[in-house]
Amino acid sequence: MLEIDVLLDKLEAELRRVIIERRLDNPLMIGIRTGGVWIAEIMHQRLKINDPLGLLDISFYRDDFSQIGVHPNVKPSQLPRQMEGRDIILIDDVFYTGRTIRAALNEIFDYGRPDQVVLAVLIERNGRQIPLSPDCVGTRTTLNAHQRIKLTGPDSLAIHLQNMDAVA
């Protein structure tokens, strides 16, 4: 079901469609660390995006800081100084609760006011907690609440299904 190459092809096709539909003009692609960056690197190459890939680390924008604290070695985000008026393609590996994307949007808007933001994810799963949803997906899947999807890489990307009960 979760064959990485098939999903990447599907996501690429979806992105090509949305670039035309939404008239994304010289878009800026941004990957969310860590898995999102791996997917974004592939899409950035396939779609021949001009600007270098932006990297986003949302650790300082998470809404669970008071529970989990701050991790050292948060890598600084690398975004162009000028985000004002740009069309942005934001990429993550898995869309789950939506909280990561909420944090990512807050961070992006702290760098400037983009024209449009399009969200592309490799896998959308059930469990949304806030009213956001992706524009492009590689696939949609339904999982149990205790199941998690994990992407490993970056050398050879692979999708793993984890059972949280087993981990705990």
């Binding site: 650790s59 924008y61 800081f65 604290g69 050292p72 600084p76 690398q78 985000m83 702290d110």
Partner: protein, 320 residues
């Protein structure tokens, strides 16, 4: 005053009072966390929401410009609400005791105190007596410690020199009265530098200074040999009650860092100073403003390091 009052039961930072009693991995964690905060300076909105809704009070019982403003900026960049109080405008001048001041501020639902005080141990005293949910950061207490200054200097050194293990670091000047020197020596040794050397006239060194883990020189020219990092200290005129020195000009002649004396250190040595600098007393302007000086870099780094320490002290305190 070695205390693990600073750490919670899980070994995480709760108060930041002195370098003593901390460990290498915690110091590295502070440096790594600060590294992450550096990037925020590139943002159009130089702010992250980590401490939104938290209230931080800067309690400055002693004057300061750099330290107070960088603490204030650091707190604001973490989105905390900050209040800066200085002694001259507060009610302690009306006779209120230190603990009463603290109790009143606690009643205003404060989450953190940043304390500077002329008495050694003041921040420690507040940490012992304040409500359990409050964190205390020492912004300089008497002649005891100034740990955030030490950490921002460690950060600056690591930024430029990368690896501590081969470094020879000279601390020059009024070691006796300097809380900065004490904290620097502890941090440098904890991070494992090859040598910490203090260079000063005998009258400006504490008794048994070698026991702090330093080598000693009383001659600037000789003492600078093989040195990678030079930390100049301010001649603390306001703390000098007795005649420890013949005169300022005499001091400059023997221990002032000039372009000429600087040549005795390694050619790529960096020059640091915690500020405020006394030009022509401990350091010549040509050196302070010269290519080897990283004095203003230290100031910029002060914001990131204070953000890191505040954020770490405010994260969830486990079982507390």
């Amino acid at each position: 005053m070695s205390d693990n009052l600073q750490l919670n039961p899980e070994g995480k930072l709760k108060h930041f009072l002195t370098i003593e009693g901390l460990n290498k991995s915690l110091l590295q964690e502070i440096l790594d966390t600060a590294e992450s905060f550096i990037g925020i300076n590139d943002q159009q909105i130089k702010k992250v929401p980590l401490l939104r809704g938290k209230t931080i009070v800067n309690l400055f019982f002693e004057n300061s410009t750099r330290t107070r403003t960088t603490f204030e900026l650091a707190a604001k960049r973490l989105s905390a609400d900050v209040l800066s109080m200085s002694i001259s405008t507060s009610s302690t001048s009306k006779g209120e005791s230190l603990l009463d001041t603290i109790r009143n501020l606690e009643a205003m639902f404060v989450d953190m105190f940043v304390v500077r005080h002329a008495i050694s141990g003041a921040a420690h005293f507040i940490a012992q007596h304040t409500a359990p949910h409050i964190s205390v950061i020492n912004a300089g207490d008497g002649q005891h410690a100034h740990p955030t200054q030490a950490m921002l200097d460690m950060f600056t050194i690591r930024q430029i020199k990368k690896d501590f293990s081969r470094l020879r670091v000279a601390i020059i000047g009024d070691i006796l009265h300097s809380r900065v020197a004490r904290s620097e020596i502890q941090a440098l040794n904890m991070l494992g530098v090859a040598e910490v050397r203090v260079i000063a006239p005998k009258t400006l060194l504490p008794a048994h200074v070698e026991s702090l883990g330093v080598t000693v020189s009383h001659n600037l020219t000789e003492g600078l040999a093989d040195i990678d990092v030079i930390i100049m200290l301010r001649l603390q005129k306001e703390r000098m009650s007795s005649a420890l020195l013949p005169s300022e000009s005499e001091y400059f002649k023997c221990f002032g860092l000039t372009e000429d004396t600087l040549k005795n250190a390694k050619p790529d040595a960096i020059v640091m100073h915690p500020g405020p600098i006394n030009r022509g007393v401990e350091i010549d302007s040509k050196v302070a403003d010269g290519p080897q000086s990283v004095i203003l870099k230290q100031v910029s780094n002060g914001i990131a390091i204070r953000m890191a320490i505040m954020a770490m002290a405010m994260q969830k305190q486990g079982s507390l």
